[in-house]
């Protein structure tokens, strides 16, 4: 009995911290529909600054406040400087805040170093009290008390003042709210900063449970996100309920099923998604966009579509047109083929890596750029394929490429079918959040399932592909060409898909899903198929990545890998296939250059690129490049006799949309 009570208290105290952590996220997401993935990083700022202030002043309370103020300031800058301009554009907010995660984490690392610090418990609260045979720290009671107090305050703030209603009205109709004399901009900034403040407040408070280290930025985001999905956004009660459930599930899981405790909260998440996707007390998170807002580019892709050539009287592109279209691809292929034997081995390795990442990026682009399904867990598909190769090669001693490649692809397809099914229970931002959770879940599996995956050490010793040709050993150049062929095949398959009616339908879903449903499309199936294709192609990249490194480690499944893929897509140009390819070149080369000159500042640069892309370079490089290329478009030949063939004019190029 006492044991259960103790576990219960542990769960509730963790739940209180989770509540404080998630309250801001739920508030801004539910009310203002701002998706702030940097919320965990803001929490982390609270912890680090709080600790520093406590150490300087010697007062825990001042430390708490200092951390909270610092976190609030970061929130303020983010909202007033950036997010405000991305009102109702979730995809932009997502990418921007990912950029901030990298920047914040790197700055924190710059100031405080990469070594984990330990949290502090003030002397007055360091006592323990006995519950039967168990001891329970007083500090945890303080957490519970503080969490509940904040819950009441936030509830009063949201429901009893008119703030909640005002913001909601403002979201629905800016003009009306402005006409009523409410300064919405300032209100939004204030509420956002408040959410960050509360998260910062619990940074130091929760440090004994969460730790103070660089990983906390991601961990906290993940936990907050699970709480928000389980509880539902927008209401204080929902967040509190979600936080307590996750806290208790975690505590009881750790006490009774220590082996699988790490998965307990994910099980809770998956159950909620399957049976109550809007969360326990959630208002459905959906954004009704007006027609006007839809035209104002809700999507990731370029605002200005490429000018489509005027009608010419040709049904099929003529030979010159076709050459014009294929020329860049043929050119790129020729360059890649020639570079193979020419490059010194270091650069050849780098180029091989570029090509592997390019496969990964174009696979993500099908979902994200064409289908509008922004995923932050895409590395999961790549990783499982890589691990399949690793396990079969290292543990089972299977070397034959023709066995390992299909095995990796099939596993990636299966996993994407399962994960895709669960993720599609929700849409929009929730979809993104759930994909993060799954990516992280698989990374945890890879870390904990030591017997099979080798844990954090990973699987080492994957040899170069054995093609089964007697007397033939694949060297670095051979491997490069193998990857090259894989890229060409994947590119061709995806090219075929995006130029098909299916590809266009996918873009239709991205642009306006409700209308697609009214037009007779089972949009769920369209999206599901896109995820499976996307995951399968990512699996191809995973197989080659395993060969490339000769090893698989859990980080290949983790969130940083997924965001790297995202960056390639948005940098190059979502909704184009060649864009992400260029993105892969830039990111891989950029990383290498930065590692040579400023080894520790790469995340900072990465974050900066994210922010630049969102604020300035919507649509990536691709539209600029294709506009440039269009200058060289040949004059189409005219054919007068169409012989009864339906004349659509010159068929526009569907590669870019």
């Amino acid at each position: 009995m006492e044991r259960i009570l103790t576990i219960f208290l542990i769960g509730i105290s963790f739940g209180s911290i989770l509540f404080l952590l998630s309250a801001g996220l739920s508030l801004t997401m539910g009310l203002m529909r701002i998706v702030n993935l940097a919320h965990g990083a803001i929490f982390m700022v609270g912890a680090y600054v709080g600790l520093a202030v406590t150490n300087i002043t010697g007062h825990f309370t001042i430390g708490l406040l200092g951390g909270a103020v610092a976190a609030g300031l970061v929130g303020l800058i983010m909202e007033a400087g950036f997010l405000r301009r991305l009102y109702k554009q979730e995809s932009g907010q997502v990418l921007l805040t990912i950029g901030f995660i990298y920047i914040i984490m790197n700055v924190v690392q710059w100031i405080w170093g990469a070594k984990p610090l330990s949290g502090i418990v003030p002397g007055s609260l360091s006592a323990v009290i006995g519950i039967g045979d168990f001891y329970f720290p007083v500090f945890r009671f303080f957490m519970i008390g503080f969490g509940l107090l904040m819950a009441v305050l936030l509830w009063l703030f949201q429901d009893k003042t008119k703030v909640g209603a005002t913001i909601r009205a403002g979201m629905d109709n800016r003009q009306v709210a402005t006409a009523l004399g409410i300064n919405l901009k300032r209100l939004f900034t204030a509420v956002f900063a408040l959410g960050s403040f509360v998260a910062g407040l619990c940074g130091l408070l929760g440090a004994p449970l969460m730790g103070i280290n660089l990983q906390v930025g991601w961990d906290a985001l993940l936990l907050a996100m699970i709480v928000v999905i389980v509880g539902g956004t927008g209401s204080v009660q929902g967040t509190l309920l979600g936080a307590m459930i996750i806290g208790l599930v975690d505590a009881f899981g750790k006490a009774y099923f220590p082996d699988i405790a790490y998965f307990a909260i994910y099980v809770a998440l998956i159950l909620i998604l399957l049976f109550r996707p809007s969360g326990l007390l959630g208002r459905p998170f959906s954004i009704q966009k007006t027609a006007e807002e839809m035209t104002q580019s809700v999507t990731l892709s370029a605002k200005m579509p490429l000018s489509i050539p005027a009608a010419t009287g040709l049904r099929k592109p003529g030979a010159r047109q076709r050459l014009y279209r294929l020329a860049p691809f043929i050119g790129a292929a020729c360059v890649l083929i020639m570079l193979g034997p020419l490059l010194p081995s270091f650069y050849l390795g780098m180029l091989t890596k570029v090509l592997i990442y390019a496969i990964f990026a174009i696979s993500l682009d099908l979902m994200m750029g064409y289908g509008g399904l922004t995923s932050m867990g895409h590395a999961a598909f790549l990783g499982v394929a890589g691990y399949t190769v690793g396990i079969l090669a290292v543990k089972e001693g299977i070397g034959l490429f023709w066995v390992l490649l299909p095995a990796g692809i099939v596993v990636a397809a299966l996993i994407s079918a399962i994960i895709g099914y669960i993720c599609l229970r929700v849409s929009g931002t929730y979809f993104l959040l759930v994909t993060i959770a799954f990516g992280q879940l698989l990374a945890i599996v890879a870390t904990k399932w030591y017997k099979v995956t080798g844990g954090t050490d990973g699987l080492v010793g994957i040899k170069r592909p054995d093609l089964g040709i007697p007397g033939f050993n694949l060297g670095p150049i051979g491997f490069y060409f193998l990857v090259f062929i894989a890229l060409v095949v994947c590119f061709a398959v995806l090219y075929r898909i995006v130029t098909s009616a299916y590809g266009r339908a996918l873009v239709g879903v991205r642009e306006n899903e409700p209308r697609m449903r009214s037009l007779g499309y089972n949009t769920w199936r369209l999206k599901y198929v896109a995820i499976i294709i996307s995951g399968t192609v990512a699996g191809v990249a995973g197989v080659f990545l395993a060969y490339y490194y000769g090893a698989m480690v859990p980080s290949t499944l983790a969130i940083e890998m997924s965001t790297a893929g995202m960056l390639m897509v948005i940098l190059g140009g979502p909704g184009t296939l060649f864009g992400p390819f260029i993105g892969a070149i830039v990111v891989v080369l950029g990383e290498n250059i930065s590692l040579t000159y400023v080894p520790d500042r790469w995340p900072l640069i990465l974050g900066g690129i994210f922010i630049l892309c969102v604020m300035l370079l919507r649509g990536g490089f691709a539209p600029y490049l294709s506009r440039l290329y269009q200058r060289f478009r040949p004059e189409p030949a005219r054919i007068t006799d169409l012989g009864g063939v339906p004349d659509l004019g010159e068929v526009p190029d569907l590669r870019e949309s």
């Binding site: 027609a291 999507t299 489509i308 009608a311 009616a501 299916y502 209308r515 037009l519 198929v529 569907l654």
Partner: protein
């Protein structure tokens, strides 16, 4: 009476505690043009949303050519022959006009495998897209993105998308919404051209359009069908006159 193509039995819809539609029993016969009129907030759009499957009905049943569709999602209803347009333009604004039309045409396909051929490869769809665009006098603008079209043209596209799959019934929610009166008349003629052989159910505030197109008029008032009849009967109906004239001639002025 001829067979009803579209029929509802006691159809109700409430949002929370608010009854927006209460017990609507309605039917539209083959090739019939039925207008649904009623003041702002009467529930016309909600009725269409429930008919089209965009919103679930709270109670009651919907039949399409004899088959019950109450629980079916919108895409299944389309495949059974029910299409709709929206009061507020609801298009693929960043895609070209031609792509919009082709997407609507491909919507009739049941299978995804059919979708794997090139978008422009289907000759029958290409011909149909051309026919419809020419009918709307928009053929020359087929490669323009829809966002670049004039509002009036977008309005036409809105309607054309719903007609592309040759549905048995089409629901047009205020087809001339937002158009100046001068354009609305020519618009009615285009709608008439596009909707021959189709059961048309539409709602409108514009009485010219209503009397121009409708064979029968149903008056929706606070979620109930107040009365139904031929245009002649409705225009003489005392209750209708009270609604439309008694509260100022707001509705008849053709506001949207």
């Amino acid at each position: 009476m001829q067979t009803a193509v579209l029929r509802t039995e006691n159809l109700s819809k409430s949002f929370g505690g608010l009854d927006v539609l209460s017990g609507i029993t309605f039917s539209a016969g083959e090739n019939e043009n039925v207008a649904i009129i009623g003041p702002n907030g009467a529930g016309k759009t909600t009725f269409f949303n429930v008919l089209g499957g965009q919103l679930p009905a709270t109670s009651g049943r919907i039949f399409l050519v004899g088959q019950e569709v109450t629980k079916l999602p919108p895409d299944r209803r389309l495949h059974l022959g029910l299409a709709r347009s929206y009061q507020i333009n609801n298009l693929f604004f960043t895609l070209s006009l031609l792509d919009n039309m082709l997407l609507a045409l491909y919507g009739a396909e049941h299978s995804h495998l059919h979708l794997l051929r090139s978008l422009y490869g289907r000759r029958d769809y290409a011909e149909e897209a051309r026919r419809m665009l020419e009918l709307m006098e928009l053929w020359d603008k087929r490669f323009e993105i829809v966002a670049a079209l004039s509002y009036g043209d977008q309005r036409l596209v809105e309607i054309a998308l719903s007609l592309a799959t040759k549905p048995k019934v089409v629901l047009l929610d205020e087809p001339t919404a937002g158009l100046p009166t001068s354009e609305a008349l020519g618009f009615a003629a285009k709608i008439r051209r596009l909707t021959t052989d189709i059961t048309l159910v539409f709602c409108a505030h514009d009485m010219d359009l209503v009397f121009n197109l409708a064979d029968r008029i149903a008056v929706l008032y606070f979620g109930e069908i107040l009365c139904e009849g031929t245009p002649g009967e409705i225009s003489c109906n005392a209750k209708v006159q009270e609604i439309y004239l008694g509260q100022g001639s707001k509705g008849a002025a053709g506001n949207a």
